[in-house]
C-alpha cells in the first residue's frame, strides 16, 4: 500500500467512487492540523492558500478543503484518485459515508475545549462520555471512529492508551490489515517524540482491543508474494501424500522453508535435519574451511566461498538491525543472496549462481569424497525411489514463477560496476560509517546508487533523442487514444494524457499531432528530454509545423543547447507563411544568433500584433541571456494573449533568471491560475522560493533569526516541489531540486525518502512538518511579534536541526 494513501486515500480499503477526503486518517490528520489556530494562522501565509482563494472553479470538493492544506494546490488531488480498488467491506463503506465533517468537527471540539470536558458532539447522541474515553456503543462505524479518536487523543498527553472493551465489530481481514498498517504508521508520527517501545505498546493496545493480530510482517518479506506459492505447495503436498512418509516429511520441511526456495542452504538444512546434525553438511563445511585455509583449492572457488562466508557473517550482523526499512533494503537482500550462494562474484561481476547450484555443489563434494559412496548418489537413489521427479518439476516451475520478482533486481545489479560498489563499501568501512546506527544510511546510499543507475540508463536513452515509452500502458488497445489523450490533456491530467498519447503514436507512428501533444504534455510535466524526443518525431512527421518548431526551440533553450535552439527557431521563421520571405535559405547553413534575432525583429515590425513573433523573440533573448529584452517581449505577447499559461510561465522563468524572484512568483501564479496542473510552473515556483531565501531573510536585521526564516522559505520550496512531483513522479529536475532544498532546510530525515523517490513517505513526513515545525514566512513572524517564535507546537525550543546553513 502506498504510504501517501494513508492520508490522501485508501488503496487497500478504498471505496469505489470515494474521494480521498473520506479517508478517516486523512480526516484525523486534517482535524489535527486544523485544530490549532496558530497553525491555521501560519498556514494562511502559505502561498497555496492564495491559490485556493483565487480558484473557486477548480474546487469541486468542498470537504477536501482542509485536506493537505500544507501542500500547495493539494486540493486538486481528488482528480488523481480515480483508481479505487474494488475491495473494501460493506462496513468500511458505512464508516466512510458516515458524516466526515461531523467527525472532524467533533475532533476540533475536543481539541479546543481541552481534554477534560466531554465533547459536545458526543453529547448530541445522549450518551454520557466516560472522561476522555469516548462512547463505545452505537453503530459500528461510530464505535470505531470514537475508538480511533481516543487512540489519537493519547498522543497529546503521552499517556498510555487504555483500550476499553469493544462490541464485536465484524471487521474483515482487509479492514484489519488496513487498520493495522495505518495505525502503525500514523502512530509513529503522532508519537514521534516517544520511544519505539511506547509506540509499539500503543499500537498493540489498539490492535489487540480491535482483535487484530499485531503481527506487522514489516520485517519479513512481503506477504503477498508467496501466497500463490503456498497454495501451490499445499496442493502439491496433497498430491504427494500417498507416497512414503519420509518424502512427505521432507516436502513439509521444504514447504516450511519455501521463503528460501531455491536456497541451497535451506535445502541442506532440511537434509541435515533428517540425517542428523553431524551429517555431511557440517562435515563438508568444515572441510571447506580447512581447504580454504590451506589454500589448496582453485582461486575462483576459494574467493567465492570466502566471500560467501564473509557475507554470511555480514548478513547475520545486518539481520540484527530491526529497522524494517533496512530489513527490506536491496542491500540486505543482496548480502543475503551472497551468503546463500545465490549470487557469486566472478571476475568482478556479480552473477546469479546457476540454477543447478545444489548440483554443482554436490559435484564439488563428490570430487572431494570420491572414496566412499557419495551422499549425492545416495540421495539421487532415494529420490528415484520416491518419485521425486514431480517435485523437481514443480520446483522448476515455481522458480520460473517467482523468478521475475527475484531476479529483476539481480539483473539490475549485475549491470552495475561492482568495483565502484566495492570501493564505496571499503571507503565507508574505513570511515567507520558501518556502525550500528549508520548501517541503514549506508544501505540507503546503496539503494540510491541503484536508482541512479536505472535512471541514468533511461536518461542516456532519452538524451540520445530516443523516446522512452512507459512499460505498462492501459491505453494500448483503446479505440481512439488520440481523442482520449486530448481530452485528458484538456482536463490537465498530464501523466495520464502522456500514456494515452503514447498509445496513439504506438498505433500511428506518423501522427504528427499525437507526437506534438505528447511533447507538449512532457514539457508541461517538466521533462524536457522526453519532450524533445517526442517533438523530434513530430518534426519528422511534419517538418513545417510551427508549433513543433517553437516547442523544439524552447526545449533546446532550456537544455542550454544554443545551436539546436537557433536552428529550430530559424526554421519557425522560414516556414511561416508571412515571415518566410524574410528568411534567406543560405543562412540556415551557418546560423548566427545576431542574424536570427535581427530577422525576428523585422518580423515583429511587420506585424506587431502577432503574439507568436514576440514569444519567439522572448525565447531568443533568453538564449542570448538578454533577460530584460526577453521580459519585455513576453510582456508584449501577454498583452495579446493573456490566457496563455505557458507564456506566463515563460515570463516567470525569465524573471527568475534575471534574479527577480518576487515578480517571477506572481507570473507563475498566473500560469497556475489558468492551468492548475502545470507541473513545470509548480517546480519553477519551488525554485523561486529556494533561490530567494536570503533575499527575504535579509529584510530583517536580527541575524539570529535568519536561519529559521530561511528554513521557512526552503520549506515553501519543498511544498512546491512535492506538489509538482505528486502530479508527475517522473519529473527528474524536481527530485534533484527537492533534494537540495531538503538538505538546505536540514531535513536530513527526509533525504532517504527523497533518494528512494518515495513521495508518499515525504508527503507523510511533510504533514508532520506542518504539525511540528514553526512555520514562519518572511512577513509574518516579526511584524506581529510572534510569541512562540522558535518553539514548536508543544512549546519546546526548536533545536539546531531545524536551522539552515549553507553547507
Amino acid at each position: 500500500m502506498a504510504m501517501r494513501e494513508l492520508v490522501t486515500g485508501g488503496a487497500a480499503c478504498a471505496v469505489p467512487g470515494s474521494s480521498s477526503s473520506s479517508n478517516p486518517f486523512g480526516a484525523l490528520a486534517n482535524a489535527l492540523i486544523g485544530s490549532s489556530s496558530k497553525t491555521q494562522e501560519r498556514l494562511k501565509e502559505i502561498p497555496s492558500s492564495t491559490t485556493t482563494a483565487t480558484e473557486p472553479p477548480f474546487y469541486q470538493d468542498a470537504t477536501a478543503e482542509g485536506r493537505l492544506r500544507g501542500l500547495p494546490g493539494a486540493e486538486f488531488d481528488h482528480s488523481f484518485s480515480h483508481h479505487p480498488t474494488p475491495q473494501g467491506s460493506e462496513f468500511l463503506r458505512g464508516f466512510r459515508t458516515a458524516d466526515q465533517n461531523g467527525l472532524a468537527d467533533a475532533w476540533d471540539e475536543i481539541q479546543r475545549s481541552g481534554p477534560p470536558p466531554p465533547p459536545p458532539a458526543l453529547l448530541d447522541h445522549r450518551i454520557p462520555p466516560p472522561q476522555l474515553q469516548p462512547t463505545l456503543d452505537g453503530p459500528p462505524q461510530r464505535v470505531l471512529s470514537n475508538f480511533l479518536h481516543s487512540f489519537v487523543g493519547t498522543s497529546h498527553g503521552g499517556i498510555p492508551f487504555r483500550p476499553s472493551p469493544l462490541p464485536v465489530l465484524g471487521l474483515s481481514e482487509g479492514d484489519k490489515q488496513c487498520i493495522r498498517d495505518r495505525s502503525s504508521i500514523m502512530a509513529r508520527h503522532f508519537f514521534a517524540d516517544k520511544s519505539e517501545d511506547f509506540i509499539n505498546a500503543q499500537v498493540n493496545a489498539l490492535l489487540s482491543s480491535l482483535d487484530i493480530d499485531g503481527d506487522m510482517r514489516a520485517k519479513g518479506p512481503l506477504p503477498g508474494r508467496f501466497r500463490e506459492l503456498e497454495d501451490y505447495w499445499n496442493e502439491s503436498q496433497g498430491a504427494l501424500r500417498p507416497g512414503p512418509p519420509q518424502a512427505d516429511g521432507w516436502v513439509a520441511e521444504f514447504s516450511q522453508h519455501r521463503i528460501d526456495h531455491g536456497d541451497p542452504n535451506a535445502w541442506a538444512h532440511s537434509f541435515e535435519q533428517q540425517h542428523g546434525a553431524n551429517g555431511w553438511a557440517s562435515e563438508f563445511e568444515q572441510e571447506q574451511r580447512l581447504v580454504s585455509a590451506a589454500d589448496q583449492m582453485g582461486g575462483a572457488n576459494i574467493s567465492n566461498l570466502a566471500a560467501r562466508e564473509q557475507t554470511r557473517m555480514l548478513a547475520h550482523t545486518l539481520a540484527q538491525n530491526n529497522d524494517p526499512k533496512f530489513q527490506n533494503s536491496k542491500f540486505l537482500q543482496f548480502v543475503s543472496k551472497m551468503s546463500r550462494g545465490e549470487l557469486i562474484i566472478d571476475d568482478n561481476q556479480v552473477k546469479p549462481a546457476a540454477l543447478s547450484s545444489p548440483g554443482d555443489w554436490a559435484t564439488e563434494y563428490q570430487q572431494q569424497y570420491t572414496g566412499g559412496p557419495s551422499w549425492a548418489d545416495e540421495y539421487a537413489r532415494d529420490q528415484l525411489s520416491h518419485g521425486p521427479d514431480q517435485w523437481a518439476k514443480e520446483f522448476a516451475t515455481e522458480r520460473e514463477q517467482s523468478g521475475p520478482v527475484d531476479d529483476q533486481w539481480v539483473n539490475e545489479f549485475s549491470k552495475l560496476h561492482v568495483d565502484d560498489w566495492a570501493d564505496e563499501f571499503g571507503r565507508q568501512v574505513g570511515e567507520g560509517a558501518f556502525g550500528d546506527g549508520s548501517a541503514d544510511s549506508w544501505a540507503d546510499a546503496y539503494d540510491e546508487y541503484l536508482n541512479e543507475q536505472v535512471v541514468a540508463k533511461q536518461k542516456s536513452d532519452a538524451s540520445r533523442g530516443v523516446y522512452v515509452f512507459s512499460d505498462m500502458n492501459p491505453y494500448v488497445g483503446h479505440p481512439n487514444p488520440l481523442k482520449e489523450g486530448q481530452e485528458l490533456f484538456r482536463k490537465g491530467l498530464l501523466s495520464e494524457a502522456v500514456l494515452a498519447l503514447e498509445a496513439e503514436v504506438l498505433k500511428n507512428p506518423d501522427n504528427a499531432e499525437g507526437w506534438r501533444l505528447l511533447g507538449i504534455a512532457h514539457a508541461e510535466n517538466d521533462d524536457d528530454q522526453q519532450a524533445i524526443a517526442a517533438m523530434m518525431r513530430a518534426h519528422e512527421a511534419d517538418p513545417t509545423n510551427l508549433e513543433v518548431l517553437l516547442a523544439l526551440g524552447v526545449s533546446h533553450t532550456n537544455e542550454l543547447e544554443q545551436a539546436a535552439a537557433l536552428k529550430y527557431l530559424y526554421g519557425w521563421l522560414r516556414h511561416h507563411q508571412k515571415y518566410g520571405t524574410l528568411a534567406t535559405p543560405e543562412l540556415s547553413d551557418s546560423l548566427y544568433y545576431a542574424d536570427v534575432a535581427r530577422l525576428f525583429n523585422e518580423a515583429a515590425q511587420m506585424s506587431p500584433e502577432d503574439a507568436d513573433v514576440h514569444i519567439v523573440l522572448g525565447v531568443l533573448y533568453n538564449l542570448s541571456r538578454e533577460y530584460d529584452k526577453a521580459i519585455a517581449s513576453f510582456q508584449t505577447a501577454l498583452k495579446l494573449k493573456p490566457q496563455d499559461y505557458s507564456l506566463w510561465n515563460k515570463l516567470g522563468a525569465t524573471q527568475a533568471n534575471s534574479v527577480q524572484s518576487a515578480d517571477a512568483i506572481l507570473a507563475y501564479q498566473q500560469a497556475l491560475d489558468l492551468k492548475p496542473n502545470y507541473v513545470r510552473a509548480w517546480a519553477n515556483m519551488g525554485i523561486s522560493y529556494a533561490n530567494q531565501v536570503f533575499t527575504s531573510a535579509s529584510l530583517f536585521t536580527a541575524p539570529s533569526l535568519v536561519p529559521s526564516l530561511a528554513s521557512g522559505m526552503y520549506e515553501d520550496s519543498i511544498r512546491y516541489y512535492v506538489r509538482a512531483l505528486a502530479m508527475n513522479p517522473k519529473a527528474d529536475n524536481a527530485w534533484q531540486y527537492l533534494r537540495i532544498s531538503l538538505s538546505c532546510a536540514s531535513r536530513n530525515d527526509m533525504l532517504g525518502a527523497c533518494d528512494s523517490r518515495n513521495l508518499d513517505l515525504i508527503m507523510l513526513m511533510g504533514e508532520c512538518m506542518v504539525l511540528l515545525t514553526p512555520r514562519i514566512t518572511a512577513f509574518g513572524a516579526l511584524a506581529e511579534g510572534y510569541p512562540d517564535f522558535g518553539k514548536n507546537l508543544h512549546g519546546q525550543e526548536v533545536g539546531k536541526s531545524n536551522m539552515v546553513y549553507w553547507s
Binding site: 524536457d528 533553450t557 532550456n558 541571456r625 522563468a653 519553477n684 533575499t695 549553507w806
Partner: protein, 118 residues
C-alpha cells in the same frame, strides 16, 4: 580563434548575477575560497576553457585565476558541469580535483542558483 561556446557559459553568468544579490553575498561570506573550473567541450585535456569563481571577492571571471593559487581546481566536461550545477550528477568519477580536498568539498551544487524552465 573563435571563442568556444559552452553550455556552462549560461550557468556562470547566472552565478555572477546571483553573487551580486544578498543571497549570493551570504554564500560568498560563508565559503570565502577561490575555485577554478577547467571545462572541456568534448574531452578532458582538449580545448579546455577556464572559469574562476572567486568567493573571496564574490565574482566570476572567464579565464584562469590570476591571483596566485586557487583553493581547488576542478576539471571536467562542459556537459557534466551543467548536470552538476543542476544537481543531476554525482561528481565522483567525472571530476578531477587539484588542491585542497576540504576546500573542494565546500563547493556543492547548492551554490548554483537553480535554473527555471521556459
Amino acid at each position: 580563434m573563435a571563442t568556444i561556446q559552452l553550455k556552462s557559459d549560461a550557468i556562470f553568468e547566472l552565478l555572477q548575477r546571483f553573487l551580486e544579490t544578498d543571497e549570493g553575498i551570504a554564500v560568498k561570506n560563508k565559503i570565502n575560497l577561490v575555485y577554478q573550473f577547467n571545462l572541456a567541450p568534448e574531452k578532458i585535456g582538449k580545448d579546455e576553457v577556464s572559469y574562476t569563481i572567486d568567493l573571496k571577492k564574490g565574482e566570476v571571471i572567464k579565464g584562469p585565476y590570476q591571483g596566485g593559487k586557487t583553493d581547488a581546481t576542478f576539471t571536467l566536461r562542459d556537459e557534466d558541469f551543467v548536470k552538476l550545477a543542476d544537481g543531476k550528477l554525482n561528481p565522483q568519477g567525472v571530476l578531477k580535483v587539484k588542491g585542497s580536498l576540504s576546500a573542494a568539498q565546500k563547493f556543492t551544487p547548492d551554490i548554483f542558483p537553480k535554473r527555471p524552465k521556459l
